[in-house]
């Protein structure tokens, strides 16, 4: 094993991790937008409860979330059963399940960031758009959405990082199956637990951080552009 070339084991874990994080983001983003909107702009009975549920994955240890996912999305679980019957989708012990676990864990971070931006949007601009003929949906697309891009970006990067690092819920929900559900953190964990895995673990830490750093640098460049467009500090 050479120091500067990746082993097949590492490449597999990297690919899987990116795949999982990508799918997790794909699910998180639209749902996160909706949840953030509802929490920021609507007032209804049970809002606190919704808010609590959204934050649940932060408060409860990941292993518990993993267990709850197992209970609901497992073969015997209500949702799992329904998914399987209706769409033929099974999340058990495969990467899609890992993505669900990552998405659930990343969700509160996504929602909170977007919500923070949403609450800071100048309502006057949205009003102006409406007088110009934009329906609320159009206002959202053409005014609100561009204005909350920084929040979406922050939410996305947090969610991506969290997905990339997700461990407890994943290993509990879909187990640690090489090539199937063994993402970087799971591979890393295995190595740290093995008596002689330290060197390999260190390599994986560097790889994880490298990927995250690359994503961060890209997001910073994007954020810079967005902020310049909005006339904010650069």
């Amino acid at each position: 094993m050479q120091v500067f070339s990746l082993t097949a084991y590492e490449i597999e874990a990297i690919q899987l991790s990116l795949q999982v994080a990508g799918l997790a983001l794909l699910g998180c983003l639209p749902l996160g937008l909706v949840a953030a909107w509802v929490l920021a702009r609507c007032d209804f009975f049970g809002k606190s409860l919704l808010n609590g549920i959204v934050h649940l994955p932060l408060v409860v240890p990941p292993v518990v979330i993993g267990y709850l996912l197992l209970v609901s999305f497992g073969k015997q679980g209500l949702l799992g059963h329904w998914l399987w019957e209706s769409f033929g989708i099974s999340l058990a012990f495969n990467w899609k399940g890992a993505a669900v676990a990552a998405a659930v864990m990343a969700f509160p971070l996504m929602v909170r960031s977007i919500r923070l931006s949403l609450e800071a949007v100048d309502g006057g601009l949205e009003q102006a758009a409406r007088t110009l003929g934009a329906s609320p949906a159009w206002v959202f697309v053409t005014v609100t959405l561009p204005l909350i891009l920084p929040g979406i970006l922050t939410g996305t990067i947090l969610a991506f990082a969290r997905s990339l690092g997700e461990f407890g819920a994943t290993i509990t929900f879909v187990a640690n199956i090489p090539g199937e559900t063994q993402t970087l953190p799971l591979a890393l964990f295995s190595l740290t637990q093995a008596p002689d895995g330290d060197a390999g673990a260190a390599r994986l830490v560097v790889i994880s951080v490298g990927i995250a750093l690359a994503a961060l640098i890209a997001s910073e460049a994007l954020a810079r552009r967005i902020n310049r467009q909005l006339g904010n500090h650069v």
Binding site: V63, Y67, L70, V71, G74, K75, Q76, G77, A92, F93, I171, T172, A175, N176, I177, F189, S190, Q193, A194, P195, G197
Partner: protein
């Protein structure tokens, strides 16, 4: 109170050690604070100076690591109990399984997976892999595993019907009515599953002594038995 006495024990011993600590307190008044975790984690912490007085590992490997650093009170190391490895299945599917009949095993597995703890580092997994290798099943099953981070999670896969079968300790089945053992791995198929206990260097005190005594007493052995272990 005087100095606290810490007992670092592998997670699989949680039930038994909690009961033993309670017993120790009622009979001798000594308080033991039980700290549970993966054997590997606990060993690492002890190597980093954790305030453990007694360490009970689920595998001799981790005890050796500490012994290597010469951190054990001489003469205090001994095996306290054995455990058995079983193939468990849901109570609903309790028919006995013949491990020698590969075909039956595969049939039982169907397109499901075999749950077990991580064969790379979790003791239950390490023993399980050994046993499967001895039985010539490893090559066939190694791609069909659902590898959990500890035995409890492997157990919950079986409980929830996520996997038809799984490899767990016999002790894990105590208090778990939904699961049952459908096959017992032969003792010689894997290294003996024994729990080494040792007192850490310079940490010997009245409480540790009382605890060592309790373990050798009938009372202590009864408790271990109750929780599915075979006291030594």
């Amino acid at each position: 109170a005087a100095e606290r006495t810490y007992l670092y024990a592998a997670s699989s011993l949680t039930g038994a050690m909690t009961a033993l600590a309670a017993e120790l307190e009622t009979t001798s008044g000594h308080q033991l604070i039980a700290v549970f975790g993966a054997s590997s984690t606990l060993a690492r912490q002890i190597l980093q100076g954790a305030p453990a007085h007694i360490f009970i590992s689920a595998h001799p490997l981790w005890m050796d690591k500490i012994a290597d650093k010469d951190l054990l009170e001489p003469g205090s190391r001994r095996l306290i109990a054995n455990n058995r490895l079983v193939v468990a299945a849901s109570r609903a599917d309790a028919a006995a399984l013949d491990l020698a009949n590969t075909k039956a095993l595969l049939q039982r597995l169907g397109n499901g997976r075999l749950a077990m703890a991580d064969p790379n580092h979790v003791p239950a997994g390490i023993y399980g892999k050994q046993a499967l290798q001895t039985l010539g099943l490893w090559g066939m099953l190694q791609d069909r595993l659902a590898i959990a981070s500890n035995v409890r999670i492997a157990l919950s896969y079986i409980e929830r019907g996520e996997t038809p079968l799984g490899i767990v300790y016999a002790s894990d089945l105590v208090g778990r009515p939904q699961v049952t053992a459908v096959a017992l791995f032969p003792d010689q198929s894997h290294a003996p599953i024994s729990y080494p206990m040792a007192v850490l260097r310079g940490r010997s005190n009245a409480a540790t002594k009382a605890f060592q005594q309790l373990l050798q007493s009938d009372k202590g052995r009864a408790i271990l038995t109750r929780f599915g272990f075979q006291p030594l």
